[in-house]
């Protein structure tokens, strides 16, 4: 028992990542509301940010600003990478929402089952 708690404590960042990943994916699959799907997608993408950022913190490392008196720094690269990923995520989200607006205009609803009821061939 203690063993498992130890593993959990040592890697709690990964467990949170996994939790967010799974919940995000679940929302995408299980929810029929188009906006909620996008929310789930964003949640899923957020988990990835954590996946990159959390290992970047080196235990005992300081902020990555060069100073002669420090030897160990946390890794700044993943932060940079995730800035890019966040931009991609934002772009995706905004594009998705724009599409949802247009779908609402075209179909009158953002519920997936209602849309397919109106237009069965679109499935």
């Amino acid at each position: 028992m203690m063993q498992y708690l130890e593993v959990f404590a040592a890697h709690y960042n990964y467990f949170i990542t996994i939790f967010l990943m799974i919940s995000g994916l679940f929302i995408v699959i299980a929810r029929g509301n188009l906006i909620k799907k996008l929310v789930g997608l964003s949640l899923f993408q957020t988990s990835v940010y954590l996946l990159y950022l959390t290992p970047a913190k080196i235990l005992g490392g300081t902020a990555p600003i060069y100073d002669g008196s420090y030897k160990l720094y946390s890794n700044p690269l993943p932060h940079v990478l995730m800035l890019t990923a966040i931009v991609v995520g934002v772009a995706t989200l905004s594009l998705g929402l724009a599409l949802v607006v247009r779908i609402k205009e075209a179909y009158g609803t953002v519920e997936e089952d209602e849309i397919f009821a109106k237009d069965p061939e679109a499935e």
Binding site: P55, T84, L95, G96, L99, V100, R102, A106, D119, A122
Partner: protein, 505 residues
Amino acid sequence: MSALSWGAAEPHLPILLVIVPILGALVTTFLRNSFLAWLVALLVSFTLPFMTIQLLVTVLKTGEPIVYMIGNWEAPFGIVYKVDQLSGYVLTVIALIGAVIMPFARRSVTAEIDERARSWYYSMYLLCLAGLLGIVITGDAFNAFVFLEISSLATYVLIALGRNRRALLAAYQYLIMGTIGATFYVIGIGLLYVVTGTLNFDDLAGRLDAAIIDPGQRNAVVTALGFIVVGLCLKLALFPMHVWLPNAYAYAPSVATAFLAGTATKAAIYLLVRVVFSVFGAAMSLENMPIGDVVIVLSIAAMFLASISAVFETNAKRMLAYSSVAQIGYITLGIAIANQAGLTGSLAHIANHAIMKTALFLALGAVFYRIGSVLYSDIAGIGRKMPLTMAAFALAGIGLMGTPGTAGFISKWYLAVAAIDEGLYSVVFLIVASSLISVVYIGRITEVIWFREPSAAAAQAREAPLSMLIPLWLLVGATFYLGFDTRATVGTAAEAAKVLLEGVR
């Protein structure tokens, strides 16, 4: 091509390949006149093949890859663009397809897309082109993700510009699935980064050899491989992750479909090949996870189930979309068999299928331009009204079936030889049996086009304009030419396969 003097630009060709279309996209954003926008897109599209061919020819001649360091930062500290036999080949295919489609696009876009959105179409198209070229040319794993998303986002917009409201749903569904796929890919890269500390493909390759042996890191590497492969298979529409493709291709504007069918999935296939063979190495990929066996099974499932779905379709574009899923199955089959003949066949099929499928979609685009529909009920009997267009369609269809004398046969031959070389006799028969199903759906649409009474819509059709016929027949001519002169496709593909199987480290 090498006689073309690029002058001072020559050493910077790799980066120019990406910058030029991005700049083009920027310029077209400010152009409200769609003709000018088209002109810019045309100029860009015509310049790019020369650049890619220059790069490919240089690589083939010297046998050494071209490495371009961005900002003069050396790998693995900076991002590096690398052109070797494989990437040069795929770059050329993408650039050529883009160039051939552009003359066709002018009338087609004018007919199918709202006036306000027309120049936006060209911006998005150029961004998509930039993204696809970037995926292929980059040597950095995360950079590949960025370009993957650039091209995908542009693709979602391209699809959504279709007239039918179902295009919006198709784009949305593609967005959801595509983002999940890309995110899986980036999760895999993240795990690799945690293990090795680098993102450069070559550097990863070097460090993974050590990492896979270390029991503490082995799980992470294997999981990363799994995530990356699944993510990319979502992007390249391997069965059963192909669900987004039929609707996306069916409801997108005709030019967009023609372009995407020939290029978008191929870039993802390139990335898959690069990761599996260059980064992980064939031995590692195939022995640590049953990727080979799983992909073989899924490929065969794709070949059969998608072909059968195509037989029952009544929308011509959707039918060709399912056919594309089946053909992608052929490509992944060769990759999974992973011997010289298999890789050669798959890589050759990247070009061959792009040419044939683009020709078929262009023909349908011309039909849509004339009568506004591609449903079987509407295109019945249109063969007599648009003989040149439909003759091209029939000939490209013959190529798709794999008739000897066409490019399609060459790919099938190499795949069959690959299966026999590995002793997979049942796979040989499965390959040819699924080709037989393609005969059925091509035969069915040919019957509809040529042997039925013209429908009300078809009766009013006229032959397509020259700007549409010329690109179409160029591609059809290429289909037959490449069935005999295979030096460009098979020759290059064989070289690339050799390099990949040696495991470039």
